[in-house]
C-alpha cells in the first residue's frame, strides 16, 4: 500500500510551489533581457578576449653586402590606467621613487612633474594616460626595472604598446628605390617585393584591457606569425652614396631640373647604384621624389646613334672607315634642315659617331634604309626598343618607338629624326640596357635590383642573371659598336673627361633638345652620358642624364660624364682586377690635389688607395675606421677613436661611413641632409650607450 496516494494533494501543492519558482526564474530571464545592465556590459566589454592578428615582422631590404637599407625597429609607448586593477596603497607608497626613476630614465619631466601627472590622472580617472612615447627596447627594459613596476608584472596599471617603425638606417640613400612602406601607395622595392617582405600574420589570444588596448594572454600564438623574407638588393652602399653625391654635385653646379644615374654590372645586369634627383623650386633643393631613371621616357638625342649606326652597319655591311661627306654640316630633307654643331667635312663613320655628327648619322642611315625605312624600324624592334626591359621594380616607363612606316605620324623626316634620337622616347634605364648589351658582347641582360631572397639569414631563392635578348647583331657588328664608343673617349666628344684617368672608358655623350609641350626649347638641353668601363674588358656600365642644365654649353660630356667618371674612379680604386690604362700616366693621377681632403674612412680602402698612387703613409692603428692627417709629404692614419665604448667623431665623414661607425657602437642613428657630416647630437667621447644620435650632413 502506497501511503503517498493519501497525501497526493500536498505533493501537488509542493509541485505548484516549485512551478512558481520556475516561473520566477524564467521571468527573471526576460527581465534581464528587457533591461540592459550597463555595469554588466561594461564589465563584459572590459574583459573581452579575442584572437587578434599579430603583424609579422616585415623583412628587411639589404644592400649587396648585407647592410640594412630598410628595416623594422620596434618602438614602444607607455600608458597608465589610473582606474584600478592595481593596488593603490602599494602604488602610493612607491610613487616617489617611481617618479624619480622615470625622470632619470626619460629626462623629459622632473620627478615632481611626473608625480603631478599621476595624481591628476587619478583625480580625473584617466584610464589611458600617456606616460611616454617613441622609446626603444633598451629604454623599455630599464622602465621595467623601475621601482613598483618591477614588482607588479601584471597589474601595475601600466600598459605597454609596441609597434614597428620602418626605418632606413642610411637615410636618403637610394630612398626612392628602396621605396616607402605605408598602407597604400607604396613605392619602390617595398612595393615591388611587398608580397615577400610582408610575411604572414599570426594569431594570438589577447585580452582587452581598456580603451582599444589589447594585451597578449600569454607568449603563445594560436598561429605563429611568419616573418617576411629579407630582400637582398644588388645596390652597393658606397657606390650609391658616391652616385648620389656626384649627381647632386653636378646638378647643383649646373643648376639642372632633374637628373638620374644608374650604375650596372655588365655581365649580370645587376644595378649597383641608382640615384634620382628633382629640383624643388620652393626649397631650392634637390630631392629624390621619383625614380626618373625608370619613368622618364624621353627623346634620347645622340645616344640613340649607336642603335642607328649599328643597324646601318649590320644591314649595309659597312666598314667603320667608310667616309661620309658631311660637308658644311647641314642636311636638308624637304623644308627641314639637320645641323651639326660644327661642320665636320668628310669623315669616317667612326668619326661620325665620335664627334656625334647628326648629318653624318642621317646620311649613313638614309643611305642604307632610305629605300626601305620599315627595315630600320624592324632593327630597333630587334634591339628591344618599344618594349619593357622588365626591371624588378614597379613603374617602369615604356619606350615609344614607331613600329611601322604606315603609322599616322610617320613622315619623310621620321627616318633621319629617329636616327639621331628624336621621334623616339626611351627611358634612361632602357638606353643603358642597350649599351650594356653591346659592352656585354651582345647579351642583353635583364636589369636587376634584387639578387637574392633570404629567410632567417639563409638563402631562400637566388635570382640568377637573365639574358633577355641575344644574337640580335653579328659579333663583328658588336665589336664595331665597341670601337665606336671607344672613339668617343679617345678622339670624340668625351675626350676631355677621361684624360687623366688611369683606365679606359667608352661611351656616348648626348645633348638632346628638350621638347616641352610640343615646342623645342631654345636654350636648354638634356645632357647625357652612357657608356662602360674598362674599355678593354667591360665590367660596369653607367648612364647619367641631367635635364635642363641652366649653364652655357651644357653638353653631355661636360655635365653628365663627370658623374660616370667619379663612379669609375671609385670602382677603379677598390677593385684590383681592373686593368690599368697602358696609355695613362700614374703621375698625372697622383698630382690630383684631393688627397689631403680625406678626413676619415675605412682603413683598408685608404691604404689601398695610397699604395696605388705610391703616396707614402704611416699607419698608427689597426682600427677599421681611421682618420688621415697630412703632414708635409706623409700621411698618417690614426685611430678615429681610442675607445670602442665612446661615441666617435664622425664629423667630416660621408653618410655611409658615419652610419657604419655609429651603428657599430650600438647607437641608433637618424640622419638629415646630404654630403658630409657637419654635426652630431651626441658629442664625441661620450659613453656609447645605445643612445639615439642625429647627424646632420651638408
Amino acid at each position: 500500500m502506497n501511503e503517498l496516494k493519501k497525501i497526493s494533494v500536498w505533493i501537488y501543492v509542493l509541485y505548484v510551489v516549485l512551478c512558481v519558482l520556475a516561473l520566477i526564474i524564467i521571468g527573471k530571464v526576460f527581465y534581464i533581457q528587457a533591461i540592459p545592465n550597463e555595469d554588466a556590459q561594461k564589465r563584459a566589454a572590459q574583459f573581452t578576449y579575442k584572437i587578434r592578428d599579430i603583424e609579422p615582422e616585415r623583412g628587411r631590404i639589404l644592400a649587396a653586402d648585407g647592410s640594412p637599407l630598410s628595416t623594422s625597429v620596434p618602438e614602444y609607448e607607455i600608458r597608465w590606467d589610473s582606474k584600478g586593477g592595481y593596488n593603490i596603497e602599494r602604488f602610493n607608497s612607491k610613487l616617489d621613487s617611481l617618479c624619480a626613476g622615470l625622470s632619470d630614465l626619460f629626462r623629459d619631466r622632473t620627478a615632481q612633474e611626473y608625480k603631478d601627472m599621476f595624481l591628476s590622472a587619478i583625480e580625473s580617472k584617466n584610464g589611458y594616460m600617456k606616460v611616454i612615447d617613441h622609446i626603444n627596447y633598451n629604454q623599455l627594459q630599464k622602465f621595467k626595472a623601475l621601482p613598483y613596476v618591477n614588482a607588479r608584472k601584471l597589474r601595475s596599471g601600466f600598459v605597454i604598446n609596441s609597434r614597428d617603425k620602418r626605418s632606413k638606417p642610411y637615410g636618403a640613400l637610394a630612398a626612392r628605390t628602396i621605396g616607402i612602406f605605408r598602407e597604400s601607395n607604396m613605392v619602390g622595392l617595398e612595393a615591388s617585393y611587398d608580397s615577400l617582405l610582408r610575411g604572414k600574420a599570426g594569431k594570438q589570444m589577447q585580452q582587452k584591457v581598456g580603451g582599444d588596448t589589447w594585451v597578449p594572454m600569454s607568449d603563445d600564438y594560436v598561429v605563429e606569425p611568419e616573418p617576411g623574407f629579407d630582400v637582398v638588393t644588388t645596390l652597393d652602399v658606397h657606390l650609391q652614396d658616391a652616385a648620389q653625391s656626384s649627381l647632386r654635385h653636378t646638378m647643383e653646379v649646373n643648376r639642372a631640373d632633374w637628373g638620374c644615374v644608374i650604375l650596372m654590372e655588365v655581365k649580370t645586369g645587376y644595378i649597383k647604384a641608382l640615384a634620382n634627383l628633382t629640383y624643388d623650386s620652393v626649397s631650392n633643393k634637390f630631392y629624390e621624389i621619383e625614380n626618373l631613371a625608370l619613368t622618364q621616357s624621353v627623346e634620347p638625342g645622340s645616344t640613340m646613334k649607336l642603335a642607328s649606326l649599328l643597324a646601318a652597319i649590320e644591314e649595309g655591311n659597312l666598314d667603320l672607315g667608310k667616309v661620309v661627306h658631311t660637308g658644311g654640316g647641314t642636311f636638308t630633307i624637304g623644308d627641314h634642315t639637320l645641323r651639326d654643331v660644327k661642320a665636320c667635312g668628310s669623315i669616317t663613320i667612326e668619326q661620325v659617331y665620335a664627334k656625334s655628327s647628326n648629318v653624318g648619322t642621317a646620311m649613313v642611315v638614309r643611305d642604307v634604309f632610305g629605300s626601305n625605312p620599315q627595315k630600320f624600324l624592324d632593327y630597333l624592334d630587334r634591339f628591344g626598343y618599344g618594349q619593357l626591359v622588365g626591371i624588378d621594380l614597379l613603374g617602369e616607363g615604356k619606350s615609344v618607338v614607331k613600329r611601322t612606316t604606315k603609322a599616322a605620324d610617320w613622315s619623310d623626316l621620321s627616318l633621319t629624326q629617329m636616327a639621331v634620337g628624336y621621334e623616339v622616347q626611351v627611358t634612361p634605364l632602357h638606353q643603358l640596357c642597350f649599351y650594356n648589351a653591346i659592352a656585354n658582347g651582345g647579351k642583353f641582360m635583364k636589369p636587376r635590383l634584387v639578387s637574392e631572397i633570404r629567410k632567417n639569414g639563409l638563402t631562400y631563392e637566388k635570382y640568377e642573371p637573365v639574358v633577355i635578348r641575344e644574337n640580335f647583331l653579328k659579333p663583328e657588328t658588336i665589336a664595331k659598336g665597341r670601337k665606336l664608343m671607344e672613339a668617343v673617349t679617345t678622339i670624340g666628344t668625351g675626350k676631355g673627361v677621361f684624360k687623366h684617368s688611369p683606365y679606359r672608358a667608352a661611351g656616348k655623350t648626348g645633348t638632346a633638345r628638350i621638347n616641352e609641350n610640343g615646342v623645342y626649347l631654345e636654350n636648354y638641353h638634356r645632357a647625357s652620358f652612357v657608356g662602360y668601363f674598362p674599355a678593354e674588358d667591360p665590367k660596369y656600365s653607367c648612364i647619367v642624364v641631367v635635364n635642363k642644365a641652366r649653364v652655357f654649353e651644357a653638353f653631355g660630356g661636360k655635365v653628365a660624364a663627370p658623374v660616370f667618371r667619379d663612379l669609375a674612379n671609385i670602382l677603379f680604386g677598390t677593385e684590383l682586377d681592373i686593368p690599368h690604362n697602358a696609355m695613362g700616366s700614374d703621375s698625372t693621377f697622383v698630382a690630383q690635389p684631393w688627397i689631403p681632403t680625406i678626413l676619415s674612412g675605412e682603413s683598408n680602402s685608404l691604404r689601398k688607395a695610397f699604395s696605388h698612387v705610391q703616396f707614402p703613409y704611416a699607419v698608427e692603428t689597426d682600427a677599421q675606421i681611421v682618420s688621415a692627417t697630412a703632414d708635409g709629404s706623409t700621411l698618417t692614419l690614426s685611430s678615429k677613436d681610442e675607445n670602442g665604448q665612446k661615441v666617435p667623431d664622425v664629423r667630416g665623414m660621408g653618410l655611409s661611413d658615419a652610419v657604419y661607425v655609429l651603428e657599430k657602437r650600438g647607437l641608433k642613428v637618424s640622419t638629415s641632409g646630404y654630403g658630409k657630416v657637419v654635426s652630431q647630437t651626441v658629442l664625441p667621447g661620450t659613453k656609447a650607450n645605445h643612445q639615439f644620435i642625429q647627424i646632420t650632413l651638408r
Binding site: 500500500m1 502506497n2 501511503e3 503517498l4 496516494k5 497525501i7 497526493s8 500536498w10 505533493i11 501537488y12 509542493l14 509541485y15 516549485l18 512551478c19 519558482l21 520556475a22 520566477i24 526564474i25 524564467i26 527573471k28 530571464v29 526576460f30 534581464i32 533581457q33 540592459p36 545592465n37 555595469d39 554588466a40 556590459q41 564589465r43 563584459a44 574583459f47 573581452t48 578576449y49 579575442k50 584572437i51 584600478g84 586593477g85 592595481y86 597589474r155 589570444m205 594572454m217 600569454s218 603563445d220 594560436v222
Partner: protein, 394 residues
C-alpha cells in the same frame, strides 16, 4: 526506432527528457569548450569533448542498466551503502583533493577518476531515508525510536558534506526534510528538527565569526556570497563578477536563438560549461528555446516523477522516486536561479547538462532508479507482493 524504444522500459517521457538534456549537453559543452580562452590556456577542446561525451554515454548506459533492476535491489543497496558512504565522506574531508579550498573530491586509485563523494551520498541517503521511512512508518510518533534513527544518518551526511560544500549539504538536508514531511513524520517532531537546524546554523555563524579559520575554511566565501559583499576590483573569479557576466550573456542572448557556436560570453564567462551553462545556453539559443524550454524539461520531469511516486504500488518506490526527483529538480532550479541572479552564487551543476565528470553518471543512475520504479507502475505489478522491506530493523 520502434525496436530501440521497445528496449526502453519505464516512463517514456522521462526517457525523452533525459535524451533531450544529454543532446543539449553535448551541443552546449562543445560550444563552450571551443572558446578561445579554453584554447589559449592550453586546453584541448576535442579531448575534453570526447571525455564529456564518454561520460554521457557511460551515464546513459548506467541509466539503462539501473532501470532494468528490480526495486528490492535498491533497497538493499541503500541499506548497505550508507555504511560505505559515511566513512568515504570522512575520508574526503581529510584527504580529498583540494580544489578552490573546497575538499570535495576523491580520486579512485588505479583508474585516476575523481568523483565528488557528495554525489554518491545524495543518491544513497535518499534511498536509505525512503527505506527507513517505509520500515518505520508505524513508529514515527515515537521521536526516539522512530524519527531519530532516520535523522541521525541525514545529520551525519549533511554534517560531513557541509564544511566543503554548504549548498550541497543544504540541498540534501532540504530534500530529506521534504521526504520526512511526506513520509508521515508528525509536525511536532518536524518542528523539533527545524529548531535544531536553526540552532546549528547559529552555531556555524558563531564558529565562523569567532573560531579559527581552519575549522570552516569556506565560511568567508559563504558569507560573501550570501551578504553580497563588494569585492575588490579586478578579481577575476569573484562571484559578483561571474553573475554580472552571466547576466550580460543572458541579455545578449535575446529571444531569437543566435545559434550554437555563436556565443561570445564563453570567452569571458567563468565556467560556461558547468556552473554558468544556463546563461550560456540562453545566449546561444535565446530565452524561449534555451531558457524556457530547458526549464520546462525539468518541470515536466518533476511532474512525471510525482505521478510515478503517487501511482507506485510500493511505498518505498514512491518515496525514493519523489526524493530523487526533488533533488534533481531543485538542483536544476538552484543552478538556473544562480545564473539569473535569484540565488547566491553556488556551484551546483545543471543535472545531465553541465560538464562535470562523474556527477553526470550519478544523476543518470538517479534517473535509472526513477525509471525502474516507473516500470513497476507500468507493468502494474501485483500490489500485494510480499513486502520483504518490513523485516529489516535499523
Amino acid at each position: 526506432m520502434q525496436k530501440f524504444l521497445s528496449h526502453l522500459k519505464g516512463d517514456r517521457v522521462i526517457w525523452m527528457v533525459a535524451l533531450f538534456l544529454c543532446t543539449l549537453s553535448v551541443l552546449a559543452v562543445y560550444s563552450a569548450v571551443s572558446s578561445l580562452v579554453w584554447k589559449a590556456e592550453g586546453g584541448s577542446s576535442a579531448g575534453v569533448l570526447i571525455k564529456h561525451v564518454f561520460m554521457l554515454g557511460l551515464g546513459l548506459a548506467f541509466m539503462y542498466g539501473t532501470h532494468l533492476l528490480p526495486l528490492t535491489v535498491f533497497s538493499r543497496i541503500g541499506q548497505l551503502m550508507i555504511w560505505v558512504v559515511i566513512p568515504l565522506l570522512v575520508f574526503t574531508m581529510f584527504f580529498g583533493s583540494n580544489i578552490n579550498n573546497a575538499d570535495r573530491w576523491i580520486r579512485i586509485p588505479g583508474i585516476g577518476v575523481t568523483f565528488q563523494t557528495s554525489d554518491l551520498a545524495k543518491l544513497v541517503l535518499i534511498i536509505y531515508v525512503a527505506r527507513q521511512l517505509t520500515v518505520k512508518r508505524q513508529m514515527l510518533d515515537d521521536f526516539k525510536k522512530g524519527v531519530l534513527p532516520i535523522v541521525i544518518p541525514i545529520a551525519m551526511v549533511c554534517g560531513l558534506v557541509l564544511p566543503a560544500n554548504f549548498s550541497t549539504a543544504a540541498l540534501i538536508g532540504f530534500v530529506c526534510f521534504l521526504m520526512l514531511v511526506f513520509g508521515g513524520v508528525p509536525w511536532k517532531h518536524l518542528f523539533k528538527l527545524i529548531a535544531a537546524v536553526v540552532g546549528i546554523l547559529l552555531l556555524i555563524i558563531v564558529v565562523g565569526e569567532l573560531g579559527p579559520e581552519k575549522l570552516l575554511p569556506r565560511y568567508s566565501t559563504w558569507k560573501n556570497r550570501l551578504v553580497g559583499k563588494e569585492v575588490q576590483a579586478g578579481a577575476m573569479d569573484d562571484s559578483k563578477y561571474q553573475i554580472e557576466l552571466a547576466q550580460y550573456a543572458i541579455y545578449e542572448g535575446g529571444i531569437i536563438p543566435k545559434g550554437p557556436g555563436s556565443g561570445t560570453s564563453r570567452n569571458f564567462l567563468p565556467h560556461p560549461y558547468s556552473d554558468m551553462i544556463y546563461a550560456f545556453i540562453i545566449e546561444e539559443y535565446g530565452s524561449i528555446l534555451g531558457g524556457a524550454l530547458v526549464m520546462l524539461m525539468y518541470v515536466i520531469f518533476l511532474f512525471r516523477v510525482i505521478r510515478i511516486s503517487i501511482r507506485s504500488p510500493k511505498y518505498f518506490g514512491g518515496l525514493t522516486a519523489l526524493g530523487l526527483g526533488l533533488v534533481i529538480t531543485i538542483q536544476a532550479f538552484i543552478n538556473m536561479g544562480v545564473a539569473v541572479d535569484l540565488f547566491p552564487t553556488t556551484g551546483q551543476p545543471l543535472p545531465l547538462v553541465s560538464m562535470g565528470g562523474t556527477s553526470i553518471v550519478f544523476v543518470a543512475i538517479m534517473f535509472g532508479v526513477i525509471l525502474s520504479i516507473s516500470k513497476m507502475d507500468e507493468e502494474n505489478d501485483d500490489i500485494e507482493q510480499a513486502d520483504e522491506l518490513e523485516e529489516a530493523p535499523f
